[in-house]
């Protein structure tokens, strides 16, 4: 071996106290391993929740939000523009409200021309009741263009029976969530009766059931065609309540939504605003994981600091000799700092491997049976960036932990030690 002399000394030092070296390395290994495991698992969790959230949330939803502020309309109508009197109206209520989007088809066409937009799916939605004998089950009935809806949420992949396109071919077909179908005790081909808030009734034939893995979708939701829905509500053919968009890049949603809102005069909500709580949850989990992992590494760092300090106390004579032989302070720092860094490097690499093995094992552990969440194994994300961060963390903590003892070693006064 023809290592530079400082590294030769480092190597001999490390190898001459193998057990201490290995213990120090194990500290780093467990710290980094746990960091990788926790990050991978937390990130897997976050991805899973975000995936569920996004599977039922459009990137942008445009709808007519009813207003509670009628002050200006009243004053204008009865007192003209200029007013000298105070008018106090308590609890104003509208006589009639239309929650639809006016000129929906125009807006839809306009939206389809936008570059950023990938899918435009119009919707007529209302709360309705399904009759099951004497029992009435409430659900949200969505009248949709099923092909657009399929492109928006990927319905095809979530069908438990039948196909989404069946809605197009069968007159008055309906797609039910599988849990709702179970409750109504119907399967594909059976008839169900829906009652609108107005009291109007319509019979539908079940042409398919789907399974999102989310209770609100599977138990309280059903799909029919737009025309069926308009018929059930007794509205005209241009009655649309919502327009949902899927963008080519979902991260543009927050920026685009206000523009659309201003342009069309209706409320436009992006997915980030709607799911702020999920985002906050992700942030909290991430922070928690980083704090915990940092603590683990800090403990490993203290271990190394302790060991290096003891090594240096035991090596006072050697340091004095090296100095007398002509090794400068920076050589001494190099000799002892490189020992910590080697411990950190090898410990961290072993830690990355350990972390990978643990996360891999976790990803094979079955998730406890749960009827609300459809998931087979613990979710784990094998993102390489955590391995890079883990490596940097490992080297940084061991470097810092080794620096102080190394500097202390470099300040040893050889004369006092050599004179005995």
């Amino acid at each position: 071996m023809k290592l530079p002399v400082n590294f030769k000394i480092m190597k001999v030092h490390l190898l001459s106290r193998k057990r201490q070296t290995i213990v120090a390395m194990l500290g780093v290994t467990f710290g980094i391993g746990m960091f990788i495991l926790m990050m991978s698992f937390m990130k897997g969790m976050n991805d899973f929740f975000e995936g569920i959230m996004l599977s039922v949330t459009p990137d942008i939803r445009i709808y007519n939000d009813y207003k509670t502020d009628y002050a200006s309309s009243v004053t204008k109508q009865f007192f003209g523009e200029k007013q000298n009197n105070w008018i106090i109206v308590r609890h104003p209520r509208p006589k009639q409200i239309n929650l639809n989007l006016k000129n929906a088809s125009g807006i839809i066409e306009d939206l389809r021309k936008l570059n950023e937009v990938h899918v435009v799916s119009p919707l007529v939605s209302a709360q309705i009741l399904f009759n099951y004998g004497p029992v009435q089950l409430g659900a949200s009935l969505d009248g949709v263009d099923i092909r657009e809806e399929d492109r928006l949420f990927g319905l095809t992949d979530k069908m438990a029976s039948g196909r989404p396109e069946n809605l197009l071919t069968a007159g008055n077909g309906i797609l039910l969530g599988y849990k709702l179908a179970n409750k109504l005790n119907v399967t594909t081909g059976d008839m169900v009766t829906a009652t609108a808030p107005s009291g109007a009734r319509l019979r539908f034939r079940v042409v398919g059931t789907y399974k999102f893995g989310i209770a609100t979708m599977d138990e309280y939701k059903a799909y029919v065609s737009i025309t069926s829905m308009q018929q059930l509500l007794g509205k005209s053919r241009d009655y649309i309540t919502d327009i949902r968009l899927k963008l080519k890049d979902m991260n543009e949603a927050a920026a685009l939504a206000p523009d659309l809102s201003r342009k069309y005069g209706y409320k436009a909500e992006d997915w980030e605003t709607v799911n702020a709580s999920v985002k906050a949850g992700n942030l909290i989990r991430d922070t928690f994981t980083y704090v915990l992992s940092f603590t683990l590494l800090l403990i490993a760092g203290f271990g190394i600091y302790n060991i290096m300090n003891m090594v240096i106390i035991g090596k006072m004579k050697d340091i004095a000799i090296l100095k007398a032989e002509g090794f400068a302070r920076k050589d001494i720092v190099q000799i002892f700092l490189s020992q910590s860094l080697i411990i950190g490097l090898i410990g961290a690499m072993a830690g990355l491997l350990l972390g990978f093995l643990l996360s891999y094992a976790l990803s094979k552990v079955p998730w406890p049976e749960d009827e609300w969440i459809i998931i087979k194994h613990f979710p784990v994300n094998f993102d390489t960036s955590y391995y890079v961060v883990g490596m940097i963390f490992g080297l940084l903590t061991t470097g810092l932990a080794g620096l102080l003892p190394a500097l202390k070693a470099s300040r040893v006064d050889p004369v006092t030690i050599l004179r005995g």
């Binding site: 007398a324 032989e325 004179r419």
Partner: protein
């Protein structure tokens, strides 16, 4: 006309703990190339202190030390280390080898640090030096496993590895039995005859008698 290898002018040294006391008083001396100088005196007279000042290891003093034409006083730490590495060889009272290294590696380290020669050449030279000390058979033993006398011989080989201008020895026989003392004596004799410049602090009159010059010290002054 012989050249001064070492020249010291008006060295004063104080210890500040527990009280400020002056250890060395205005010491001036010069040593010529090839000279074997012994420094003698009672314990506490400052002879070891003087040696460490001359060796550049101790830098807290007043006065000037010039070695081989270079004013080492006030050199920065790195330059000082480099100078020591190249020009000064040390032999201490307590052998002071690195115990985890073999005898050969101990001898090689200062030369590897100097980096004037390739590894193989350094190894070869170190082996020659060990042979000169009659220690070549123990070259690959860990130095911690050698006896005191053997360790001291390895230490002398180490002091010689970079062909230093001056060999400084702090009581090289102070910790050895009489048999080993004789061996070390003879080695120093031989080194002196080969023209090495040696400064040795010693208690031993037999040892000192072999040298060209004896500096007697008392109370921080050289007796004239």
């Amino acid at each position: 006309m012989q050249q001064n290898v070492l020249k010291a002018e008006k060295l004063n040294k104080y210890f500040h703990e527990p009280d400020t006391t002056q250890i060395l008083h205005d010491i001036s001396l010069s040593i010529q190339e090839g000279e074997f100088v012994s420094i003698m005196g009672k314990s506490g007279c400052g002879k070891s202190t003087l040696l460490y000042l001359l060796s550049t290891l101790d830098t807290a003093y007043e006065g000037i030390v010039i070695i081989n034409g270079v004013t080492v006083t006030g050199l920065n730490e790195n330059a000082m280390a480099r100078f020591r590495n190249e020009h000064i060889g040390f032999v201490f009272q307590f052998h002071f080898l690195l115990p985890e290294f073999t005898a050969l590696e101990n001898v090689m380290l200062p030369a590897l640090k100097l980096r004037k020669l390739e590894y193989q050449e350094v190894e070869q030279r170190a082996m020659e030096k060990l042979k000169q000390m009659d220690m070549h058979e123990h070259a690959h033993k860990l130095s911690g496993k050698l006896s005191g006398g053997q360790q001291q011989r390895v230490a002398i080989a180490r002091a010689l590895i970079n062909d230093p201008k001056i060999i400084m020895a702090d009581e090289p026989t102070g910790n050895l039995d009489s048999a080993n003392t004789t061996i070390i004596f003879n080695i120093f004799n031989q080194l002196a005859q080969e023209g090495n410049t040696i400064i040795a602090v010693t208690h031993d009159h037999d040892f000192a008698r072999k040298s060209n010059r004896i500096l007697e010290m008392a109370d921080g002054r050289i007796k004239t």
